[in-house]
């Protein structure tokens, strides 16, 4: 819900509450004044009657359905006070029960006591309440409507800088290395917000750049020391008087160094893909590329006693950088060779919709979709880096391809779906 809608709704709810209370209060106040007026007029009438009795007018001539005067003989002190009360009586015109005001008092006139009982119809309560309600409702709707109109008009003007900021944040991309700039607004809060956003994005940008530089440099810089260490080990292999027991130690060290070097290269590749350094301004003949990769890896697969079959539809052209597409396909094939069973097989199928690489293998020990995460591997102690599928995933993400990993009935199946 939009902020202004929320605020308006809240206003309307509060207003309706206030108006209801105001309605009740108004009703009570009006009713009190009416009662006061009625009481005054009853007292006044009684005084007129009192004068009439003093002048000797007969009682029956003074009485009617609203006025009763009775002679009493015994009285109490409190009877001489004005006693007002509410009562119901037949309305003279409408012939139905209506709320009336009643005055009871005993007065001493010419040495005798007369008890006056007088009633007068109230100002119509129905009329009062409906009047109050109608006024309040009109006010409420009038206010509500103007509030709605104003809030929408004002909000589009008031929130304009906010909307602009939102659009800028939406368009912001860390990888573009462009700072966000906001024009100054007259609203203090928006200026504060824009200030914070500028600060935060600047910080994020700087962090991102330094991280990027670090990972690039780290990957490059570590290759030279690794080359030095590897060379020293090779020289050691050449040295005379080397004992046979020492040879495997040297080899293990060499293999570990190779792994370290590959890790650096893979991480730097991931960074490069993330940085969009392989933008697809070109198209690649995927069919040719898959054929070539199959040809390259057939040899290696056969050395491991695996059969590699392919079914490649010709002329599948995709908008993807050739180098990166080659890495994608190679990684899928490497994966299928590495995680195969003895004397197993690999099937590669390419058509307009997708590329499928299938091979038998042990069930993965973790959910297949987690195998796309960096350094996640089914066998944590294995020699693999755990970066191959992360690279596959990243390449697919950047090139708008969808990649799925399915394990079913002993078959690993990696599917790269092409955009339609």
């Amino acid at each position: 819900m939009r902020l202004i809608t929320k605020a308006t709704l809240l206003y309307l709810i509060i207003t309706s509450l206030v108006f209801s209370i105001a309605g009740v209060v108004t009703y009570k106040t009006v009713m009190q004044s009416v009662a006061r007026e009625t009481d005054y007029s009853l007292r006044n009438n009684k005084d007129i009657l009192k004068v009439a009795i003093q002048e000797g007018k007969p009682l029956f001539a003074l009485q009617n359905e609203k006025t009763q005067i009775v002679k009493v003989t015994t009285i109490q002190a409190k009877d001489t006070l004005n006693a007002f009360s509410d009562t119901l009586a037949i309305h003279p015109y409408f012939k139905r029960l209506e709320p009336h005001r009643k005055l009871t008092i005993t007065e001493r006139i010419n040495g005798e006591y007369y008890r006056f009982t007088m009633i007068d119809v109230f100002f119509e309560t129905d009329d009062v309440s409906s009047g109050v309600t109608s006024v309040m409702t009109r006010l409420f709707f009038g206010l509500g409507l103007s509030l709605l109109v104003c809030s929408f008009l004002i909000s589009s003007w008031l929130f304009q800088p906010f909307q602009k900021s939102l659009q800028k944040i939406k368009a912001f991309n860390l990888k573009n290395n462009e700072a966000i700039t906001f024009s100054k607004t007259t609203t203090k809060e928006f200026n504060q917000l824009n200030g914070f956003i500028t600060q935060m994005t600047d910080k994020a940008r700087l962090d991102y750049i330094s991280l990027k530089e670090f990972s690039e440099n780290a990957a490059h810089e570590m290759q030279t020391p690794i080359a030095v260490a590897k060379g020293k080990l090779e020289l050691l292999l050449e040295s005379p008087n080397l004992q046979e027991a020492q040879l495997p130690l040297i080899q293990s060290a060499q293999i570990a160094l190779s792994k370290l070097s590959r890790m650096g290269q893979s991480l730097s590749l991931l960074t490069k893909i993330e940085n969009n350094e392989f933008t697809a301004k070109e198209t690649t003949d995927f069919s040719k590329l898959v054929d070539q990769a199959v040809f390259t890896f057939k040899d290696i697969a056969e050395l491991k006693n695996l059969t590699l079959e392919s079914n490649v539809e010709a002329n599948i052209i995709l908008p993807i950088n050739a180098a990166i597409a080659d890495i994608l396909v190679s990684n899928l094939l490497k994966n299928a060779i590495r995680y195969n069973v003895p004397d197993g097989w690999i099937k590669v199928k390419l058509d307009k919709k997708q590329l499928i690489v299938k091979n038998p293998g042990h069930p993965p020990k973790i959910p297949t979709n987690q195998l796309f995460e960096r350094f996640r591997k089914s066998n944590q102690s294995g020699q693999s880096l755990g970066l191959g599928l992360a690279i596959v995933k990243k390449i697919c993400e950047v090139n708008h391809l969808k990649v799925d990993y399915v394990f079913k009935e002993g078959i690993h199946c990696l599917i790269v779906k092409f955009p339609v």
């Binding site: 290759q223 080359a227 590897k230 090779e234 020289l235 050449e238 040297i250 160094l257 040899d299 020699q383």
Partner: protein, 225 residues
Amino acid sequence: MKLLIIEDEKALADNIRSYLSTNEVICEVAENYQEAVAKLNVYSYDVILLDIMLPDGNGLDVLHLLKAEQSEAGILIISAKNSLDDRVQGLELGADDYLTKPFHLSELNARLKAIYRRRKFQGFTEIKFNEISVDTNNHEVNIEGRQLELTVKEYELLLFFISNKSRVLTKQTIAEHLWGDNVDFLDSFDFVYQHIKNLRKKITAAGGNDYIKTIYGLGYKFHNN
């Protein structure tokens, strides 16, 4: 062969010099751009090993300089950057080969020798090792006149052995020479054995000696008994 190593990392330059220096190869080292230019102005070299990233200049500038002087030296670029652009740029500027750090010294040795052969003899060269002779132009191997039917990989393997004769070659080094980056993901390089076995068989069947010595658990050595 006279070799100039232009490499700022002293330890790496030392490795290369120790490994390559033999009776046939004379190595000199230049640690920076200035030193390299000074040396190139005075001496002539057969092959130049060039690190692209130098502290006082880009290695590619050395390449420009050599081309401007129409030097006949072969050039092998080494770089820590495994980037396609650098490779293409280097080769376009006239480098003969490109090697990414970290490399096996035996691989470097084989490549330097190949460049040297191509430069010095314009490719028309026959490498002889006792009774085995390799025609690198036609990719043919003969043993006392009998031609060997070798697969591409077996041929490359033999050439690699001869280039690195009497040196220990681990299975990993051999695998990476033959298949490049495509085998780096494998845990074991024992499959190299099959190619070795086939090569051995073919050489001995043609009447050649078995020079391939197995170093148990580690690799092989091509050695004149």
